[in-house]
């Protein structure tokens, strides 16, 4: 019946979820990933321009740290090449003060981003 305390940043990102939502314009690719045990489910939407990610949106069902990580990733992705989208999951976990047990869920975020990036990479720039 209890949870660890959350950092102010996690609580803020959970409350605002900046960049969340399913985009409705054209030219977006999506990737998704799931982890059944915790019912974590992440979908990332990416838009590219000149071989770089131009915009990122996400949908997420997951714990506060997972939502916060998705939000951080969405802010971090624009400007990167699709091949560069490997999150430094350990550093981000430390920044978000996430317990070690959350790393598995963080990899779900990474996996969804990777899946979307793969599609971008497969497209003509």
């Amino acid at each position: 019946m209890s949870l660890q305390g959350y950092s102010a940043e996690v609580l803020d990102l959970l409350a605002r979820a900046p960049g969340a939502g399913r985009p409705d314009g054209v030219g977006w690719v999506s990737g998704e990933a799931r982890e059944p045990l915790t019912a974590t489910h992440v979908r990332f939407h990416l838009q590219a321009s000149a071989g770089r990610i131009a915009a990122a949106r996400y949908e997420v069902r997951g714990c506060p740290h997972t939502i916060a990580l998705a939000a951080l990733a969405a802010a971090w992705l624009p400007g990167r090449a699709p091949a560069e989208v490997v999150l430094d999951v350990r550093a981000l976990a430390a920044r978000l003060q996430a317990p070690i047990g959350k790393l598995g869920r963080f990899l779900v975020v990474q996996e969804a981003i990777g899946a979307a990036a793969l599609q971008l990479a497969g497209r003509p720039a």
Binding site: M1, L3, L14, L37, T38, A39, R43, E59, R61
Partner: protein, 382 residues
């Protein structure tokens, strides 16, 4: 932060009632009296202890002499189960998978000490059929332990029927009533239990004090957990913490006097809360729809993460199935025993109500929960 958060976690612990507080303070301010001593202060302390004992007994319709004070319901559960089990080595013990950890772990300890253990899974509504218990009672069965009110779901078991089965076979019945006192009728002449665990802090008394009711006739043999000192008829040595016992007595007195009316009022609030949530799609009541204590409402919300739900409810203090027990991080074993999948067990909230709570508080809580559930669902992939 704006307003202080609304407290919906009375099944975890309750605020001290001001009248209990006053009684405890008066006791703490009295002349120091070890109730085992016979000078005037010691005698006065002993009288206060015996008054408190009588008050605790009265809520159960039991004589004061049937009440053994402990440090809480955890100890009472242990004293009942380990005490009865060790006095009857090599027996067979029966309990439910939905019991409190103090009961389950004590049963498992007995199992390691050479007892046979049967843990039954209740029906999906949280109730166990007394016939299912009767079916596993055998010639070596020594003890059955079934709680009256479940601390996560509020589900009430049919103790009187279970007791009848136990009596027929000469098996002891222990009942964890930590969540029942002051919330549902608790008359031992109706329940016919041999051993009943009680706690003060679940009904606006102090933390750190509880009691075990031990039937007088026939009086079940118990091996004490602690030795040395002879207090509590040898069942529980140690200098008696008079202020704590006085607090428990005062809390049980209030429960006896105002419990029934209060329970009715809490039941109305609980229904109001459920009405305000039930029309959210994908919302499930956990536990039996009617055989339930008035102060607990347990609800699962489809399509949200339990931890995010709880974290989003900054203005509410409420328990979650997300991580029952800070260490484990596993979803509620009680809800899983009722057949909820991990996701629904985890995405559950236990609202528990207490003295002085109001309809506007309930409405505000429901509004917060609806908002957070809808918002989290809006974030989730379709």
């Amino acid at each position: 932060m704006s307003a202080p958060p609304l407290y919906f976690d009375h099944a975890a612990t309750t605020p001290l009632d001001p009248r209990v507080r006053a009684a405890m303070f008066a006791s703490l301010d009295a002349a120091p009296g070890n109730p085992s001593a016979t000078h005037a202060a010691g005698r006065a302390a002993r009288e206060r202890v015996e008054e408190a004992r009588a008050e605790v007994g009265a809520l159960l319709g039991a004589p004061a002499a049937a009440i053994v004070f402990t440090s809480g319901a955890t100890e009472a559960d242990n004293l009942a189960i380990l005490g009865a089990g060790r006095a009857r080595p090599g027996g067979h013990v029966v309990s439910l998978r939905t019991e409190h950890r103090a009961v389950l772990d004590a049963c498992r300890r007995l199992e390691r000490e050479g007892h046979r253990l049967t843990l039954l899974t209740p029906a999906r509504d949280g109730r166990v059929d007394p016939a299912a218990i009767a079916a596993v009672l055998g010639p070596t069965t020594t003890l059955v332990s079934v709680m009256l009110v479940n601390n996560e779901t509020g589900v009430i078991q049919d103790i009187a029927a279970i007791a009848a089965e136990c009596r027929r076979r000469g098996v002891l019945l222990h009942v964890d009533a930590a969540q029942a006192a002051g919330r549902v009728p608790l008359d031992v002449s109706v329940l016919e239990a041999d051993l009943v665990s009680l706690s003060a802090h679940k009904i606006h008394g102090p933390v750190g004090v509880g009691a075990l009711y031990v039937r007088r006739e026939p009086r079940p043999a118990l091996q004490p957990l602690l030795v040395g000192g002879g207090q509590e008829g040898g069942l529980r040595p140690g200098t008696l913490p008079v202020h704590q016992l006085v607090g428990m007595g005062a809390a049980f007195r209030l429960a006896r006097i105002s419990g029934p009316a209060e329970a009715a009022a809490l039941g109305l609030l609980r229904d109001r809360l459920w009405s305000a949530l039930a029309d959210l799609p994908g919302t499930y009541l956990n536990g039996h729809p009617t055989a339930r204590a008035p102060h607990i409402l347990n609800v699962s919300f489809e399509g949200v993460d339990g931890e995010a739900l709880l974290a989003g409810l900054g203005g509410l203090i409420v328990a979650s199935g997300a991580a029952c027990g800070a260490e484990s991080g596993e979803p509620s074993y009680v809800l899983r025993a009722l057949g909820r999948d991990d996701a629904l067990a985890q995405a559950s909230l236990r609202f528990s109500l207490g003295r002085g709570q109001t309809a506007p508080e309930v409405d505000a809580a429901a509004a917060q929960v609806r908002e957070v559930v809808l918002r989290l669902r809006s974030l989730a992939p379709a």
